[in-house]
Symmetry: C2
Amino acid sequence: MIKITFLGTSGSVPTKSRSLPSVAVTYEGKTLLFDCGEGTQRQAMRYGINISSIKAIFITHMHLDHVIGIAGLVRTLALYRRTEPLYVFVPKGEEKGITALLNFDKALISYKIIIKPVKAGEVFEDKEFSVDAIKLNHTVPAYGYVFKERDKLRFMKERCRSLGIKGRMFSELLKRKSIRLKNGKTVRIGEVTYTEKGMRIAYVTDSRPSKDVEKAARGVELLIHEATFADAHRKLAIERKHSTAREAAEVAKSAGAKRLLLFHFSVRYKNTATLIKEAKKVFENVQAAKDGMEIVLQKGT
Amino acid sequence: MIKITFLGTSGSVPTKSRSLPSVAVTYEGKTLLFDCGEGTQRQAMRYGINISSIKAIFITHMHLDHVIGIAGLVRTLALYRRTEPLYVFVPKGEEKGITALLNFDKALISYKIIIKPVKAGEVFEDKEFSVDAIKLNHTVPAYGYVFKERDKLRFMKERCRSLGIKGRMFSELLKRKSIRLKNGKTVRIGEVTYTEKGMRIAYVTDSRPSKDVEKAARGVELLIHEATFADAHRKLAIERKHSTAREAAEVAKSAGAKRLLLFHFSVRYKNTATLIKEAKKVFENVQAAKDGMEIVLQKGT
């Protein structure tokens, strides 16, 4: 089960109902944070994310509205007496800027902050998942991220039952790759297992629509994509290197994403109706994210 | 009329109900901000403060929880196309730190930000009010501030009526300092006016209780004072150079303040009952500030 929590869904400027960009992905008790706009630590408290469970923070780019919240967050974690290291991913070349921010008031940080420069490709791996970076097309170096649950080996329950495989035999099969049954026959693990493909989530902001994203987000369960502008402001989108809602939908369609969540809306739109309408013309399974929105992905659901 | 709005009342770490320190003082359509913790711009939106009306920001000290919000705020003001200069007051010596923060992502700031180093004494003056800085006693250079409404010359309404002073005669009196009545007698302005003392508000955080504060806050209408700890943690208060609620009350009492509002509470206290109880033993007119609390001061009320 992967839980996605939208902590901030506004672009550039917060509003009463939308905080600045941050999305939490929680998996097996571990949380990854994608971007960390101003107010993220408080949004996390408000929406039930235990900030101590944050293992790594992935910053898309160094515009202030995507990153400044990290300063307060790391300090609060220190006051909470964290000892575990925290990984912070930033576009390569931005190590100095993030370091200055993290050391801003020389707060005594009680744990290690490991700053990792990002280039396109796999940037993080854990036992249960990995994270890839995708080069984006913005006014400053920027990377999107793909969270990838690892593929899992699953036993074919029916077949195992019919062969009499039960109890400790499963762990033995996993360990030895084969097992001898009571009837003397040997069963290899491949005969009674299948691979369950891991689920994937792509997080993309700020960027013009991108072929790299289409490729990296091929078939993802969930594409979270910026939609700063509506069609009426497409010129602005091009000029400021953002995407319209329709363009985000086109990316989702080309990538064959299963579901699209739009966020990072310009405050010029009182609501998201127009954006969603324009996106739906291209891609049906689209919604506007809201602060506090939770999405749970479960295999087979 | 002076309106005080508490935008953030927590200390060090935010909670679901308390944002990081910031207090807005609005007077004659102009707003002064005292401290600017993370999330201040959004708190201002939430609680009806027009951020474009902010003329000056007074930072007590450069600990991150009191200042980081300024980075997002100045950027939002630029996106709102501000042209008017913004004054930012920081303890002398901290000019470089605040400049780095203001220039963090090299956002195009469309207006002038005038950084003013603070020493004890008057630091800001406007037609209708001035602001004094008070040296505090914290772990880093820190200043409290006293907002001072200017004294006003008021006409004695009854006496003016009985002398037949009316209409344009008032402005003539103000201009020439005296006026000749119909009966040939001359009236000097001092005979028909009195001075209405301006109201004052002191904002004090972070600090041990201080004689300088007692002096500067003599007779203030409102003392806003930090109360990080309860009696039980007085040792911690001394060690970390903060105040207990009781100590804040002692300052209010010695200063002869009319009213005390406590804020900047440690998150270790689930509520403020103990803090208020301990403060009340020393000073009766005390309350715990809450986020969004508004206090309106009006002469004669």
